[in-house]
């Protein structure tokens, strides 16, 4: 069984980390990740850019694009995609296509800062 592990934290706090603190955390995480990689159990890993870089597409008709991250409490996270896009408009087009296939709810569109594709999981 594959598990997605989604990271939540106070962005104000993480954004205030010094470079050294950030590197310390990343190093410690890398130790855990390397262990999983050796066991052939680690899939893709992504560190997202700040929520300030996010836009949200409400899957209405017509779709509505809002600035900022997804902020509703009445809907739950059900999945995610990682897509290679030219720019934000391109990413929103992809989100629109997906939204047309599955209306209702929303997609948060957020650029990825660090991406490791990981091993071959099946």
């Amino acid at each position: 069984m594959l598990y997605a592990i989604l990271c939540y934290h106070d962005e104000d706090f993480v954004g205030s980390w010094s470079k050294e603190q950030d590197e310390t955390v990343m190093k410690k995480l890398a130790v855990v990740q390397d262990k999983l990689t050796k066991q052939g159990r680690l899939g893709p890993v992504a560190r997202l850019l700040p929520t300030t870089a996010a836009a949200t597409l409400r899957k209405e008709d017509p779709p509505l694009v809002l600035d900022g991250p997804y902020a509703e409490t009445k809907e739950q996270l059900l999945g995610f995609y990682i897509v290679d896009c030219q720019n934000l408009d391109d990413a929103l087009d992809v989100a629109r296509d997906l939204g047309a296939a599955n209306p209702g709810g929303a997609y948060e569109v957020r650029p990825v800062g660090v991406f490791r594709p990981g091993g071959t999981l099946t």
Partner: protein, 424 residues
């Protein structure tokens, strides 16, 4: 990472600071009281958090504790002398209720932080005082840290901040929630102040770049904070993008000997791809609003440089157009001077020189004017005039890096134009 280490607790206190001091300022309506209350809460945090771990919501905890400590002091004082009527309301607040209210009521959050930032950019304050005050009050840097970044003595910085605070106390601070127009004005003032903080760090020379770098980082942190509060403001997106795109080049801007490396000579592999990506994403977002402004235009120019893998791939035509747009919304001789550089790449040095000639009276004491003018003249082979311009630039240079850069041009001129000249 151990969340209870002092360094991590310090970071948590720093990140909670704008919200906590902003809320305490709303309660006490006095900056010194709010700051003192926050300091007391921090001391309490440093005592208790290492044992119990940090609370779920550090800002709410600090606001609560800060307020209670201050109220206790008022109560202690009251035993000695009767209080005026007004102050009774404060001390009768029920703590548990206050805690709940603070947690549920996010409506103040935005205006609290904006007000706190806005106090620092009071129009009566000169720019140097504004940014010193913001770094002290909003960012929580120590006077020593700020003095170091500004390259002045601690005593001088202490005085600068004290003066600024005194002026603000005299001027009074508006506490009612601002209307839409006023909020927009405050936002513009705060954005300008953040830009100044960044510039203070960015305009460092090679030997001070590392010391002043924290100013750039702090400006970016504040810009992101402001954008989280006002997620739909394209100019704040533009500002944040501009700072990120400029700062992305920081590792490539200075040579080992501290001399300045021009954009076209920089090793682009040293540019931060992550910061550029974030900057570009923000510009994309801003552009969707079709509401242009000076920060967005400047960010778009920075983006064109960032997108060019090599200097030859730089889209100078587009940069020329963007500077033209910037001249319309924010006309200044310095903008025209920058535009001239783009014009020289697109239409040649002759056209660029014609563009800057009228600026001479306005920029008579501006180092870059003579540096740029000298470079254009040199391209046109008018070496004697170029040398005069370069000499003038060296006389006006603000840093040794600037002077050294111009001397390099001069050496080249002397080499090229006077093959017979003997070195003395």
């Amino acid at each position: 990472m151990s969340e209870t280490d002092a360094a991590w607790i310090e970071t948590a206190l720093t990140s909670a600071r704008p919200q906590a001091v902003g809320a305490l300022l709303r309660y006490f309506r006095d900056l010194d009281t709010a700051e003192e209350a926050f300091q007391n809460a921090c001391l309490r945090a440093l005592k208790t958090w290492p044992q119990n771990g940090p609370p779920r919501d550090p800002a709410a905890w600090l606001i609560m504790v800060g307020r209670n400590v201050a109220i206790d002091e008022v109560r202690r004082a009251r035993k000695q002398e009767p209080l005026p009527e007004d102050d009774q309301a404060i001390s009768d607040l029920d703590d548990a209720e206050g805690k709940l209210a603070e947690r549920l009521d996010g409506s103040h959050y935005r205006d609290d932080i904006l007000r706190l930032m806005f106090i620092c950019c009071h129009p009566d304050l000169p720019a140097t005082q504004q940014i010193a005050l913001a770094l002290r009050i909003v960012s929580g840097l120590t006077v020593k840290q700020i003095a170091r970044a500004f390259l002045v003595s601690e005593a001088a910085m202490e005085q600068r901040i004290t003066r600024a605070k005194a002026k603000i106390a005299d001027a009074g601070v508006p506490f009612e929630a601002p209307g839409a127009v006023e909020r927009a004005e405050r936002l513009a003032g705060v954005a300008a102040m953040i830009y100044l903080i960044f510039n203070e760090g960015y305009s460092a020379s090679g030997d001070t770049a590392e010391i002043r770098k924290p100013l750039c980082e702090e400006a970016i942190r504040l810009a992101r904070l402001l954008l989280r509060l006002f997620p739909g403001e394209p100019e704040i997106m533009g500002l944040t993008a501009l700072l990120l795109l400029q700062h992305a080049r920081s590792a490539a801007r200075f040579a080992g000997d501290g001399s300045l490396i021009l954009l076209e000579d920089q090793d682009r592999s040293l540019w931060s791809g992550t910061m550029i990506a974030e900057g570009l994403a923000l510009i994309d977002k801003a552009m969707r609003h079709r509401k242009s402004g000076p920060y967005q235009i400047q960010a778009a120019i920075a983006a064109l440089h960032a997108r060019a893998a090599t200097p030859e791939e730089t889209d100078w035509t587009q940069i020329d157009l963007l500077y033209g747009a910037l001249e319309l919304v924010q006309p200044s001789p310095v903008v025209t001077l920058n535009r001239a550089v783009a014009v020289s790449k697109v239409r040649g040095a002759e056209a660029a020189l014609a563009l800057i000639e009228p600026l001479a009276p306005k920029l008579a004491n501006y180092f870059h004017f003579y540096g740029v003018r000298g470079a254009f003249l040199m391209q046109l082979g008018r070496n004697d005039e170029a040398r005069i311009a370069f000499d003038r630039a060296i006389a006006l240079a603000n840093t040794s890096a600037e002077a050294a850069h111009i001397r390099m041009h001069l050496d080249r001129l002397i080499r090229d134009s006077q093959p017979k000249a003997k070195a003395k």
